[in-house]
Amino acid sequence: MSAVLAVADHRRGALRDVSFELLAAGRELADALGGEFHVAVIGGDVESFAEELNREGVDVVHTVDEGEEFNHDVYVQAVEALCEEVDATAILSPNSVNGLDYAPAVANGLSIPLVTDAIALAYEDGLEVTREMYGSKVETTVEVDDDRFFVTIRSGEWPAVEGRGDASIEPFEFELDESAVGSRVQGFEEVGEGDVDISDADVLVSVGRGIEEEENLEIVEALADALDATLSASRPVVDNGWLPKNRQVGQSGKVVSPEVYIAVGISGAVQHVAGMKGAKTIVAINTDPNAPIFDIADYGIVDDLFEVVPELTEQFE
């Protein structure tokens, strides 16, 4: 029997949304493989997490009552033990920061191939994974030449499974080897509070690496002023210290959903898009017609921002 084992993500007392998307990917793969679909939840309030994860298509939820929060050493040991217990053919996890902190270790420890950041899976005689390369400019398919594998899935690519299921919930006990735990989580910190909350803004003018120099920020500031909009940014602008962290839109920054989002010189990397795809109207100004931002934009100008932005500002003055 080939089982699929999916490991849910949670943080500070709540399952993360991608965990429910993981259920869709896992069920799909289990059907293709003709096996059972098992879900594991490790640490935290595992009982209530298990209740929530008991959704349509899940056969078994394994609860591992070990610690409050994510610890990669505990996850590695628990997942390896569970994998053996259920004889898993496939292990799935979100391609999250924590997923990437233990999936490569588990795959390496079990000597099975790892494919990260999958956007689609197909299984016939073997597994075929679709993933992107070169900053989302191309898609590729990767064939996995092994009958066991670990895949991490990108969030937002599978629908979240909603309906209640009738899974059996089974506590899983294993002997944690304390001596192999070499990392200790000490706490959490919130970052990026400050003068403005970009997630409140109706209109965002967002600036990316295309702006090239700090001095050039003036031209997007002028646009934001003229539009009565708030200025936000992609990561490189914040990494360079040109704008504070609370202006960063994206996976590790803020999630925003304004009426209008104007992306100026932003390529639309997946971690950026994660923060702004909920905007009602998306406008992109970019010299590269193949920039992935145009895939989600409603309106676009393929041109030099240094030419277009001042013209646009003028229209509103």
Binding site: R11, R16, F70, H72, N95, V97, N98, L100, D101, Y102, A103, P104, A107, N108, G109, P113, V115, T116, D117, E128, E132, M133, Y134, K137, V138, E139, T140, V142, V144, D145, G182, S183, R184, V185, G187, F188, E189, E190, A226, L227, D228, N240, Q251, S252, E259, V260, V283, T287, N290, A291, D295, D298, Y299, G300, E307, V308, E311, L312, Q315, F316
Partner: protein
Amino acid sequence: MKVLVTVKEVAEAADDFEISGIEIEEGYLEYDLNEWDDYAIEEAVQLSEQRDDVETVGVTIGPERSEETIRMALAKGIDRAVRVWDDAIERQDLLDVDAKARLLEAVVEAEDPDLVLSGVQANDDSFGATGVALARQLGFQWAAVVNRMELSDDDTIANVRRELEGGVEELTEIDMPAVLTIQTGINEPRYASLRGIRQAQSKEIDVQSLDDLGLGEEAVEGELDLTSMYEPVSESDAEIFEGDPDETAGKLAAVLQEKGVGAQ
């Protein structure tokens, strides 16, 4: 103490490009130092500037062309460089995570560093997994997506901050030796000085084949095959405004005004 930094030359596709087979055609690719590795290099160099017992070594897996990239690391202050390459590596269309980990493991065994710094991901294949796989392969501890690191006085513990999603950061204590994958923004990478660049030109790069590392060809034979590459079908129904900047800006302004933008 010794710090090993993994450095990758990454390819970037031009705005317009063509694919032939499972590759972007060579003429459309530009090579550069992986953005995340630049921050890892800076972190190592800063450590060596703060203390006088630190040696830094850069290691790359790459063809001769990639010496340009590893020289960038030398120009920025990395002390020595190792480049791993072999015909057997050249033959792989996709070097999988474990293959990279095995190659780097052999270098780590020869160099015996106390700390390995690696970028969170490489901008071309964005697997984001090499550092953590390497740690496991070595039996080292690790942390992924680190945006602050401080070593304890006796170098037995790395106190790190891991950047999670949604503006939340995790504070974690990691036993050393360890592999840390470095996130952008942890520092401000320096530009290589002209003097640094000149000096780097004359430094020797230690080229290691599989044989030199005591590995056989099977070490790089992975289980992943790249079977196709294509431009994604755009699901976009974006309206693209055509014309000179004043025309396009005018058309966009009209749309924005219709949506009430700038109306106060």
